[in-house]
Each structure stands twice: as structure tokens, then as C-alpha cells.
């Protein structure tokens, strides 16, 4: 299960998608909208994705996890649209035969997601708004002829 959705995310949905007889542990992660963020009170967030590419990159992460930890099952869902403080923006579940791989692979999944899955969030405060990265990927250097900054 790899998807961009406008629906509410729960840990149960992704956990159920990865449970399997040969897996003795399921680790889930929910990323939630936090306020304050960087010292400012957040009213809400707007998430936007490049869905076709985001889903491919989620599948790539699952393949990387399989290569590194062997038998694993991975589910990743990312929500887009307007999210209120406290709501989940991303849900990840990893199932593995033993808990250690499941914990490690789940941490790897969220770290990789933030680097290679094209999803953006705009923080909206009482007095303004700003697009927040997305950390960028190390795989290809940015196409950076230096541009003038505002």
C-alpha cells in the first residue's frame, strides 16, 4: 500500500496492510501536524504532492528496505490538502520477522521519505504563510546555477 490520499490516516490502516504470518513484529509511525513550529503558532497546514512520482518513490523506499533488511512488508500513505494541528500527515508501517528490523526499517522509511518523496507543506500562521521543505535528495545535485534570492 503506497498512496497519496485526502483521507484521514490511522495507524491501523497501514498496520493491517503489512501484517503477515511470517512477520512477528509490526512498527507503525504517524507524523502529525505540530504547533508551535519554529517558534510560531500554526493555524493549519496545506500539503501538496506530486502524486505519480511520490508513489514511485515510496515503492523505491520499500525496495531499499527489502534489500537491506530482507523479509519486510512496507506500507506508506501520505495525506494532502488542509490538515489541522494534531492530525496525521503521514502513516508508515513496517512488518518484519523480528522487532529490531521492523524498528530500524521504519525509522529508515520516514527519513528517506523526507529526502526523496516530493511532498510539500505550507505552514499557515495568523500573520502569514510559507512553504517548508522537503529536505531535498542527495542522489542528484540540485540544478543550481545560483539564482538571485528575494
Amino acid at each position: 500500500m503506497f498512496e497519496i490520499t485526502r483521507e484521514v490516516l490511522t495507524a491501523d490502516q497501514v498496520a493491517e496492510a503489512v501484517r503477515a504470518p511470517d512477520c512477528g513484529g509490526v512498527v507503525t509511525f504517524l507524523g502529525t501536524v505540530r504547533s508551535p513550529s519554529r517558534g510560531r503558532t500554526v493555524l493549519y497546514l496545506e500539503y501538496e504532492a506530486y502524486p505519480e512520482m511520490a508513489v514511485r518513490k515510496m515503492q523505491q523506499i520499500a525496495e531499499e528496505i527489502r534489500e537491506r533488511w530482507g523479509i519486510t512488508r512496507v506500507a506508506i500513505r501520505h495525506r494532502v490538502g488542509r490538515l489541522e494541528v494534531g492530525e496525521a500527515s503521514v502513516a508508515i508501517a513496517v512488518a518484519a520477522p523480528h522487532r529490531r528490523e521492523a524498528f530500524e526499517a521504519c525509522e529508515y522509511a520516514i527519513a528517506r521519505l523526507k529526502r526523496i518523496v516530493p511532498v510539500w507543506k505550507k505552514e499557515v500562521w495568523a500573520d502569514g504563510e510559507e512553504w517548508i521543505g522537503w529536505e531535498g535528495t542527495e542522489e542528484v545535485q540540485p540544478v543550481g546555477a545560483p539564482a538571485a534570492r528575494a
Partner: protein
Amino acid sequence: MRVRLRYFAGAREAMGRAEETRDLPAGTTVGALLGQLRAEEPRFARLPADMMVSVNFEYRAPDHLLAEGDEVAFIPPVSGGR
């Protein structure tokens, strides 16, 4: 050659549109296209310099050659406030 361009987040706001189709000369690279857009649209030029570009859903370097039918997306890591 015809390519489809897609803009996201701050890039979409800077260009004032989410996508378009363009005719480009054969031999156009990712870097050349980015330079062309920066020259056309000052707001696009003011986006952070570390813009990523994907071609057919893979991140590509500036010297990557574009081809007929490619889907090129502009993926700003961070966009400026306003």
C-alpha cells in the same frame, strides 16, 4: 520536441500555473530549460537555487538531455515566504 512541464509548491505559485506543454529544440538539457524559465519569470528565478528537477519521475542532473514526450517537474526543496 514537445515536453510537458509541471510546477509544484513555490514553483507553481511563481509561474502562476501548475503545468504546460512546450516545444523545445532537440538537445535541450534540464539545466538549459531551467535557465530559460528563470530568464522568463523573475519570480521563478528568485526561488531557492537548490531546485530539483525530475524527468519522467526520476531526479536528473543539469546535463540530462530532454526527449520528446518527457514529463519534467520542478521540485523546490524550500520556497520563499511572501
